[in-house]
Symmetry: C2
Subunit: 419 residues, 2 copies
């Protein structure tokens, strides 16, 4: 950020973050704790699905050759789901069978219970004929043992919690969950609810950054408010480096006398990779890394909106990279709901916007008026940030713009189709 240096574009800064940060080590975790993490092994089906020929209905298992309409068969016991197949059928026999239960040896079909009738002591009459393999889920018909179930690199979601169980897995290999220390700097700050004097400011960046980082699936260590004194800052950053993969600091990164984060990071062994991006708000952002590449830090501007923008644009990609994702987070395209009266200046610009779903699919945004780069009030009603290129002209309604959806933003509902 020295006078003559040209600032990085957002894309160039994201690329620097992406090439500097490396994915975290692989670890084995209980299957129930894997949701949100990146799979670090290929998963295969351990056995055929179904593992045996099983009944698809409640009914009687029999051999189809003996299953003509009006046939009367001796009922030789019952197999419930979860029980072994039982003894082989003798000629003239059938066996009562429940959905999901394995067929006894000698059976190749199931007649559903609704198509049978009692026929005296221990006997049943078929009300309709059965074809071979009718109402049977055949062994291996859905999956063959050894078939690939999921590839290394997949992001595990709720459905995969079920899949892992189905594969018989109690634990699974994943990329470790990132650990992030969040701290605000500034002697003007007081904790929320602690009663700020008019010349003091509640620490909103701490809770904001912590909640953002949690929404992206990382573990947060909240370090509260750090003092504007170099040695204490350095000590706090050194401590955080031992406990976390990423450190998010807000405040103290512009050019004033007390902008101590800029000095404290290198003193704690975190060397600047870049300082300053040609973006509004959020220009004085600082990105630093330890020599061994194990710990990274962002010095974000102290204004809440600037801190939010810096976190979404740069810390989010860093977290995705740590978590082993294949690409940085995606920008989406949306249509402007209203004309954009004021274009951007020399820097790329991020503006809070309401987000809604168009009836025909796709997104629509209405840019919100933010009073200043401290104005979290406007963002509180936003579902996305509109990302304008530098020197962007005013745009008509309906023009396509790039947007970054904000986490936890609710979208306008559309009704389910009715019939």
């Amino acid at each position: 950020m020295s006078a003559g240096s040209s600032l990085l574009s957002v894309a160039a800064a994201v690329a620097r973050v992406w090439e500097t940060v490396r994915p975290l080590p692989e670890v084995e975790v209980p299957a129930g704790a894997a949701v949100g993490l990146t799979l670090a092994e290929d998963l295969a089906w351990p056995s055929h699905l179904p593992s045996l020929d099983v009944s698809a209905m409640d009914g009687v298992a029999l051999h189809s050759a003996a299953g003509g309409e009006e046939a009367v068969l001796e009922v030789a016991g019952t197999t419930c789901a979860g029980e072994p197949p039982g003894p082989p059928l003798s000629p003239g026999q059938c066996r009562r069978i429940m959905t999901g239960a394995p067929l006894p040896p000698g059976a190749d079909a199931v007649q559903r219970v609704e198509r049978t009738a009692p026929a005296g002591e221990g006997r049943v009459r078929l009300l309709a004929a059965v074809r071979p393999w009718e109402n049977v889920r055949r062994v291996g018909s859905e999956r063959r043992a050894g078939a690939r179930a999921l590839e290394r690199g997949a992001r595990l979601g709720p459905v995969h919690a079920g899949l892992l169980a189905l594969l018989g897995r109690a634990s699974v290999r994943v990329i470790r969950r990132p650990r992030v220390t969040v701290a605000a700097t500034g002697d003007e700050l007081v904790g929320a609810g602690e009663g700020a004097a008019p010349w003091q400011v509640p620490n909103s960046n701490g809770p904001l950054l912590a909640a953002l980082v949690r929404s992206w699936g990382a573990e947060v260590l909240e370090a509260g408010i750090l003092p504007d004194r170099g040695p204490e800052l350095r000590e706090a950053i050194t401590g955080a480096s031992r406990r976390s993969d990423l450190i998010l600091l807000s405040g103290g990164v512009s050019r004033g006398d007390l902008d101590l984060v800029t000095g404290a990071l290198p003193a704690a062994g975190l060397n600047p990779i870049f300082h300053g991006v040609a973006v509004k708000p959020g220009k004085p952002i600082l990105f630093a890394s330890s020599r061994d590449g194990r710990v990274h830090a962002f010095g974000l501007p102290g204004n809440p909106l600037s801190a939010l923008v810096g976190c979404v644009l740069f810390a989010w990609p860093a977290l995705e990279r740590l978590a082993g994702r294949p690409h940085p987070p995606a920008a989406l395209q949306a249509r402007l709901a209203e004309p954009l009266a004021r274009g951007s200046g020399e820097r790329e610009e991020l503006r809070p916007a309401r987000l809604s779903v168009l009836p025909g699919g796709g997104w629509q945004v209405a840019v919100l008026h933010a009073a200043s780069s401290a104005d979290l009030g406007a963002v509180a009603r936003a579902g996305a940030l509109v990302h304008l290129p530098p020197r962007c002209s005013p745009l008509p309604a309906g023009a396509a713009v790039a947007i970054i959806p904000l986490p936890g933003a609710s979208q306008e509902p559309l009704p389910l189709p009715t019939d």
Copy 2:
């Protein structure tokens, strides 16, 4: 589900769920625990923002009438951010001031530090003139005390964690987080990783439903596997009714001998509201409620894909209603990536599909081949369920279809715009 009864459509069943379930009571929670919950009070700004006239720059505070180019002023101390405004300026004086610090009485402008130069002992020279209120964020310019910050009914996201702090709120009134008991029934089930015999089935519905419900923000009580014995089922359901707002059971809801959930729910005081929806998969779903409307239960089919579909279609709206959302979850519209070769039959149909973002905005889906209604393997690669109306004809590529995105599904990335 008796022979002659006509089954509900999905929309009619969702409407029954929505009108039966009521929002949970309001509670006061710490601000940090409010993300994901529904705001149950209107929030207002407690004071002007800024609360005083504060400097927007590091520099010197002065009266603009004394701030002509080349003016030399006596420096009367320093105000840092977080300090009170200090003593009034005397004529010929200025005061060193940091970004965010309040102006001293008698000052109406700030000249930034880069536009000043030392002028001997305790004096400073201005390199440029200042205008009134230049580099000053005026009291109340961004927000007036008492202005509305956020409305009751908003879904609190990460940004609101910052907003609550800025409002000085350590706690906030919200709709209580729903508590959900999840249990699977079936004597054929064994816990994941406990080594299933070929005729046994790992309990995948328990982990699947628990992870889905957690992704929607509810608290989950996992009750494992319940036995196929009426009295024990009833007792377990009665116990769950005391601890939870919603009970999700899988298995035991079709017409076979051992479909005990259908009987156990009323025995535990949860009376059927509907049993059976004209949807494939997931037809035999059962929805029940206590007489006082305080506890609700779904009996979901035991097949994993059917349980997933039932949970997404019906339990999700129930959770949204409990959580105080204004509408049931939204279906979105997407375009088919490939022709839909096989239309739907007499029932509405849900099919797992890959989800991607179209370059011009909007969603695209490619329907995946699912081997059966037990096939969680196909859904593991899906980002959405395609929702077809009944008697839907085959469709060409590009046709519009309704989709329900699955939680935790990753989307195809698009690059950020470059300049």
